[in-house]
Symmetry: D2
Subunit: 346 residues, 4 copies
């Protein structure tokens, strides 16, 4: 572990043993860097190493000054896996699976932020992502949308952290799916550019712009369908993503033709009960904005009834990097380690 510099007088564990020694693999991407920051600041976790193939030897705070993590990045093969209890893997799709397999061989608990273990059906995975690097682990993996799988996550050794769009869409739709209300579903989703990783977008293409993309098929669609089916839902799903001219923030607007008649009061009651004790879901009376959840692990959910069309409208705003990626990963890791779910995420 890197030495603390002058700047390293920033707080870390206040005495006592850490609950786990943690590796972050792939710390130069946006989600990996944020994962490293969250572990670094977490009072019960120790950030043992953060790896990078391209930037080994560079300090993470040279790449991400805002995160204030003064640790030197390690080459992937320079990490002693026997000194690791848990890992957050933030590698690209396909690159993650072999590392996850190796980590599991060392009995290291893993939250994988890639798509490699999200789809339970191998054929579906291979249609969207190509050959799978560790199909033998698919059955072990728990799909970690925390609020929908808290107990399974707590007992898991390998958690597939959900995609950012599925996180928002599923939190918006889960109460309807669970209650059997789900008919046809249209999901019109919008994300800031950090949803696409680092270095993806030219300023002149994005600023003052807004547009849909991948309208004829996005690989988050099968992930959403898989989980809705698992919840008991329903009809066909149309999912269209759009690119917002902002950095962080994601909103899913969902339009549901209900399987049964309902009304605004029943809906509010349904959602209110479902999310009453969730620390990271805020059910709000007005349509949620992405700014209200920036740099938080919170999902803000709103539900409405369009009387003239009888459609149900439900909206969910998250920070795509937090609840849509690294924040939820730490939330899951907390559960896997028997810690308070909210630790390090306030």
């Amino acid at each position: 572990m890197s030495e603390r510099t002058a700047h390293g007088t920033l707080p870390q564990p206040l005495g006592g043993e850490p609950a786990a020694r943690v590796l972050v693999a792939g710390a130069t991407g946006l989600t990996g860097a944020l994962a490293a920051r969250l572990v670094w600041r977490h009072l019960r976790l120790e950030l043992v190493a953060a790896t990078s193939r391209s930037s080994a030897g560079v300090r993470l705070d040279a790449l991400y000054p805002q995160h204030r993590v003064p640790i030197e990045l390690s080459a992937p093969d320079a990490v002693d896996l026997d000194a690791i209890d848990a890992a957050l893997v933030a590698l690209p799709h396909a690159a993650a699976a072999p590392l996850v397999a190796e980590l599991r061989m060392h009995a290291i608990r893993v939250v994988d932020l890639s798509a490699d273990f999200r789809l339970r059906d191998l054929d579906s995975y291979e249609r969207w992502y190509g050959e799978h690097g560790a199909p033998e682990l698919l059955d072990d993996a728990v799909y970690g949308l925390t609020e929908l799988a808290r107990e399974r996550v707590a007992g898991a050794d390998l958690v597939a952290n959900p995609g950012c769009y599925p996180t928002a869409a599923l939190l918006a739709l889960a109460p309807l799916a669970e209650a059997g209300f789900l008919g046809e579903v249209v999901i019109d989703a919008k994300s800031g550019v950090s949803g696409a990783g680092r270095g993806g977008f030219d300023f002149a293409e994005v600023s003052e712009n807004f547009k849909p993309y991948k309208v004829e098929g996005h690989r988050h669609t099968p992930e959403i369908e898989q989980e809705l089916r698992a919840l008991g839902g329903g009809g066909t799903v149309t999912f269209v993503p759009h690119l917002l001219p902002i950095d962080q923030g994601l909103l899913a607007s969902c339009y549901v033709t209900p399987a049964h008649e309902t009304d605004a009061r029943e809906l509010r009651s349904l959602y209110g009960e479902r999310y009453a004790s969730e620390p990271f879901v805020d059910l709000v009376d007005a349509p949620p904005g992405v700014r209200d959840v920036r740099d938080t692990n919170v999902a803000r959910v709103h539900v409405a009834h369009d009387e003239s069309s009888s459609r149900l409208l439900t909206f969910c705003a998250i920070d795509n990097l937090w609840k849509g990626a690294s924040g939820q990963a730490v939330q899951n890791l907390n559960l896997m380690l028997g810690l308070e779910e909210t630790e390090g995420l306030a």
Copy 2:
């Protein structure tokens, strides 16, 4: 009319009589100011007066330097209506109708940018906007979505210029409605803040933000439904607007459950034929972005077929101030005056 200053050496009519002497009423709002600019720069129109209740005596270029219109604003009652051939009325809803009535008494041709003459049904108007100031004119008014009503506009004395959201939604949906394909419709629309007029939004509420608003009913919904019915369309409409953290630009994303089966090829052919000769509709192969139409009168339309759900997806991007307001108003005025539809809008 105000004298030209040094800066007034900017071009205007190149000799010959203007086709019409034009009044812009309500030139201190965003759409009125743009209307004044378009008339000022139009080679065949003369901007005789631009009125403002609050800023009479002020030069328009002091309020809107970017538009470069060096005309002094007039008090509303200081205009000699006998010297006017045509008017663009950019007053708020309800304030417009009485002025329109007065202008019509003087046989002045009017394009009204307010909502006052958009809804043919008086009850529906009064439910959304309050008492109507000139209901006797409702039957004379032509709903001026140019591409859908070119001939009626050309013969009209009073044109109700469409709302910005209906313009985009209807251009996206019209070919489907006309061909009888329209089943259930979800319209998820997004607009920059200028759609809400001048001075409406605090920077801190909008920047880096994105959110839905008026999800339980927006007054553009009955306008869209009225026109879809007129085109032969169909099922229920759900319309939800969202606020983009940009100034200009509007996108309507439309999700249609088709009345009959169709496929991508038929859709492209349908839209291709419908819009082939439209000067201000660009049918594009990729999803359209609002930046591509900024400061133009162009609508960019894209249509796709979502095979897995059999839904039809259609998108339309416009500049809410141009094709969604003042640009379309001039396009309509051109037609009413027998000019080339595109004049002054290139």
Copy 3:
């Protein structure tokens, strides 16, 4: 103090007595709300009350969801001052002084974020701000630019927290002033809109815009001059602020005609030594951007030598709400209470 809700399971003090029971006065403004958040999350401080004249009874997280502080705002006169050890006062200029006087009567330690105790010269204060509400306290107040007054702050009962522009300008210039290098100084400064408080700016006036303001005199000028003189500096100061089309972030670009000749090497050594052990000043090799310090208490400083003109160039980037206001206030409070300076600010 308000009860914790479900959401209030967010972490606070990990056992042990808090070091101080803290009041935040004026918690509905941007800096007061952030101050409340920082105290709420601080492991050694207890947020006893946050006051608001206009929003008493409202929960702070209803106004600022992103800060996640589930405390109910108190009316100013509903707070039991005997249960308070320290206060962060975030009231407007002139309104702060009387409250500060009252708090001091109860022997409460105060960091005042307003301008009321920044200018040591009463005449100068009254020229820029009007009548002073507690001039008898001026001599007790320590100007709290932490890095320049650490020991005095540690021993103070009343700290005047610096303005955002002076914080950045003084950190950029202090090493030169202390070393006697300071000749004529031009400070061209740029701030995001949150520097002006809540609700100040119309989106349409700020977005895609950039402009100078108050070019003929800003009240931060006498504050900068006072502190430069105290450090031993020098010539005349010209200070011009500009408004950036962003929410948070401030950059001061300083141009100095040196009192003696110097070169790049000497400058780097001077700044390197001066700031080597500062936890919240990063001396950087490349010009600093405001994004790198967003939501941190860090100042990034860069110094260069313009050989052709022999001028010294020095730049400082801060987050105007953190190091420029509430972050520095907590940094000062930590010192006043004998805590580690960096606590609660990582």
Copy 4:
């Protein structure tokens, strides 16, 4: 020349012979594309060809839909130079000079938007840009800051179009330089990203950011110094550029230690007289914002006197793509062709 499509019914020359047949070389960059648009819409010019090495055969409106120029791009060697009267050359530095030489061999009038003919001193050019491709033409070139060289431009065959930063800085400073007031000069300049050409900046690096760059030497500095000396000015110049998180817009803030004493009244009178009859310079009473000049060829200039320091403050806002590049190029071309200076730029 490409055929007009349906969309090509947009207006162009209204009868009569065009004043010149114009080539735009390098039309795929931001300034070349805008130059092509300005020529295309210009009522007295004919856009004969727009060239591109990388995109020959592609229509310009496929790359820049917003400009609405339905012309097919030509390969550079496919243009018949005998059919060309004038050219706007928008190639990168160094690539421009050989083409300019070839065009001049055909007696074609040229406005070169690159830096190749801006610096009169060959050594200085080669220090900043490398070897010069046509040094024999340096003496023929007129530095085309229109307001400072109107008559020379009108008589020139080759105009070196100024850089964007020098345009703003020189318009801000010229009245002082001409009147002998110029002492020491600090220029703190800020530009939107389009100043750096197409595809230059990652959204995540620019949005919500602001920073200085090239603080130890930018190649626009010798250009500014050369022209200030030519006007009779003065002392040393320090020039530091900064990057704004917007697309278009440039502000130069200039700080001058005056050679003689002066006051606000004399300054206003000096600037008022100097710019009174300039069609594209607006002298304004309040500090200018870049938004007010967006998509216009206007420079907004403000001058102030800082009494406490006796410094003169002068500010100039332009659109870097218009007055800072293509707009000024057309302004110059108008003069070279004996047309009204403002034609096509309103």
